[in-house]
Amino acid sequence: MEISADIHLTRHPDFVLDVEMTVQPQGITALYGSSGSGKSTLLRLLAGLERGTRKDRIEITSGKTVWQSEQIFVPPERRGIGFVFQQQQLFPHLSVQGNLDFALSRQHTEQNLEVNQVYDWLNLHSLLDKEISQLSGGEAQRVAIARVLLNGAKCIFMDEPLGSIDSPSRSRILPYLDRLHRNLQIPMVYVSHSYEEITYLADHLFVLDNGKITSQGSMLELCSSIELNSGEGDAAAVVIQCTVAKHDLDYRLSELDFEGANIFVNAEQYQVGDSLRVRIPAKDVSITTTRPGNSSILNILEVQIVSFEENSGPSVLVRLRRNKQFVLARITKKSLNLLDLQPGQTVYAQIKSVALLMESIDD
Amino acid sequence: SAETVRIAVASNFHPTLTKIVQVLSKESDTKYVLISGSTGVLYSQISNGAPFDILMAADKVRPALLDTHGLIEPGSRMTYAVGRLALWVPGSTSPVNKSFLQNLQGNLAIANPEIAPYGVAAKELLRGIDLSKVRLVMGNNVGQTFHFVQTGNAQAGLVALSQVRHSEIDRRLFWPVDEGLHKPIEQQMVTMNQSAGTIEFSAFLITETATNIISNDGYRLPGSREN
């Protein structure tokens, strides 16, 4: 299901959404942007929950089907999509079970999804008999996610679904979402203002700013750009592609091949030869000019300095290349000067070992 | 099967007619159905096609109008009773009579002269009497006028003699108004068709059994003198 949209919509008094985009039929597409940039509005338009007025120009197609044009409007219930709302919208007159049954009895497509497994992932078993008014904030959000998952949508839209979910639940849900779209081939459009969440999840990225798309492309390509990361502070990170080389079962560590170098990580659940994505936060990367020894840091890569971020703060992002892939390091300007780092120079990037995190780790 | 005759009757005559029909039903197979209401409403309904066979109005105006519009059996219009007015003073300690009217205080209930024939008569009766000390309250028909007095909200009322008789009011508490003091309240009936049942009913109404019931209930019979 490939969704294309060409939208020009005005929201009184001063917000204009002006977007042309194509949601890839595979993987997770993230809409990223600050508060008020138009993420929810765009998502609601794609879902058919807003129609715009006569003055707006809205054209949305899904594959060869026109969802919205000047003449046509396919209502949301016939678009086969699922939607997790920013403010959860459970039906107050139904119990938790009732809400889930509502979704189950209206599946968009038949899905051989293990209902019990969804309950496991979202830890719902003890909640099924509760009334909606008896749920805590996080519990309600988990029910809302389950409701959409059980609905068998052909594409799932999520508007900041993890805002009120605690980190243990979050780390159970994130890899599940990842698996969901990979195994079931269900594309997802995921709205978030958390760069961290997005680097965990997204395959494709659209960055929205004040109603306009400022960058777009594959996450692997975009994420190492200094522009995208420079505003992110501690969240700055890259995603790299590695292959499983071998497992060390004693230490429960696996050796990954990253452009000829080794990276150690806990990945025992994968097969040797599997291709994995690994996220490296910039602040976890330090630079040495000589190969360090006697350190608890296992991951040391020989890399080449490509460029520096230009800014006035105390720290600086350094873009480092190893063959075709890039990592980012955030270091102080002081270190930059002390070590006298220059573009083109070959240095060692130390990566705090377990700071390497895969989207598929199940804690 | 037996014929059904629908008689639309002014509310004030309804109790009397019930007695008459009870007697008649013993002698006849015909089923008589009574529909009571205010003469105005019944008139509107008949004008608009109500399935009534007989109308027994509280006045002669509406029957006459139906006559002119050709909605009745020609020549069927006749006066079946002449209503009489009574001054009823429930709390009275002295005998109630004409002079009582002069000294009346408080609320005096009469029927609305614009719609009810008993009201017209009451108005005539009161002409020339000083009413500065009384407050005239009007019931929409003589039935309501009766309620006003009966519930004690009006201290006196000009009601139908038939009502005080029917309610077995103490003879000392009301005064049957002399008929000379107002124009007679002629209650007329008309029939809308010539079925066996309507003919039977019209005939029965002038039998002695029927006329006795009528006069016992406080009506004068047409043609008879005041008694």
Binding site: E77, I81, F85, Q89, R106, E131 | P15, V41, N48, G49
Partner: protein, 231 residues
């Protein structure tokens, strides 16, 4: 022989039930439309719906009588279609009651409907529920109290309705003489004992009915909103 007052009771309940049912059929979508539309027509229809209340029922009845009469275009058309007139029939009473009770049904329901959050409907839509599905499975249960109040007002109002029925019904025993008229007749013809008995019976019956309906409603509402206010 059956007590004519019992016959009147039967007719009254039948009339009230049929009227409420018809109002349920036509008033429900009307209320929904009024609660949701932003169309200009809404501005005109809303006061129109309320209009029957300001006319005294007898007057409304009078105009309906004229409308139903075979002399009017409508009455003629009806007569040629069905072979009978509307005035003085049960069908005529139903039409009159529906018109008169329409606002009492539509307006409370409209208030309830406008309290339904669009977000809930959006959620239902994305779960694959079409408009009718949404209405039946979300709007209706969420607005249950509104339906109870609307239905009760309409039903009770038809039971107590008087002026219109008097005018267009013709007070025909076994056909159009409803309880309210029978009761009124008893008062008018000075049969007070009977009137008191009937009024008391009506009150006890209605109170019991209302008690049951409202208690069920409260109990249901209490159940789903629980003790605290939740988070």
């Amino acid at each position: 022989m059956i007590d004519p007052d019992l016959v009147s009771l039967t007719i009254t309940l039948k009339l009230a039930a049929v009227t409420t049912f018809i109002l349920f059929l036509i008033g429900t979508p009307l209320a929904w439309w009024l609660a949701r539309t932003r169309h200009v027509a809404g501005f005109l229809v809303e006061p129109l719906v309320a209009l029957p209340i300001v006319l005294p029922p007898t007057v409304l009845g009078f105009y309906l009588l004229i409308l139903f009469s075979p002399n009017s275009g409508f009455g003629k058309a009806w007569a040629s279609l069905t072979g009978s007139t509307l005035a003085f029939t049960f069908e005529g009473l139903v039409i009159g009651s529906v018109i008169y009770s329409l606002p009492f049904y539509v307006q409370p329901l409209q208030v309830a409907f406008s309290g339904v959050k669009q977000d809930l409907l959006d959620a239902a839509a994305t779960l694959g529920a079409g408009p009718v599905d949404r209405f039946i499975n979300i709007v209706a249960p969420v607005c249950r109290s509104g339906f109870v109040v609307a239905g009760t007002l309409a039903f009770a109002h038809t039971v107590g309705e008087f002026g219109i029925v008097l005018m267009i019904g013709g007070n025909i025993s076994g056909e159009t003489r409803v309880l309210s008229i029978a009761l009124f007749d008893h008062v008018e013809t000075l049969e007070y004992g009977r009137a008191h008995l009937m009024a008391a019976g009506l009150l006890v019956f209605s109170f019991t009915l209302l008690l049951i309906v409202y208690t069920l409603n409260r109990w249901q509402t209490g159940r789903s909103s629980s003790l605290g206010s939740g988070s």
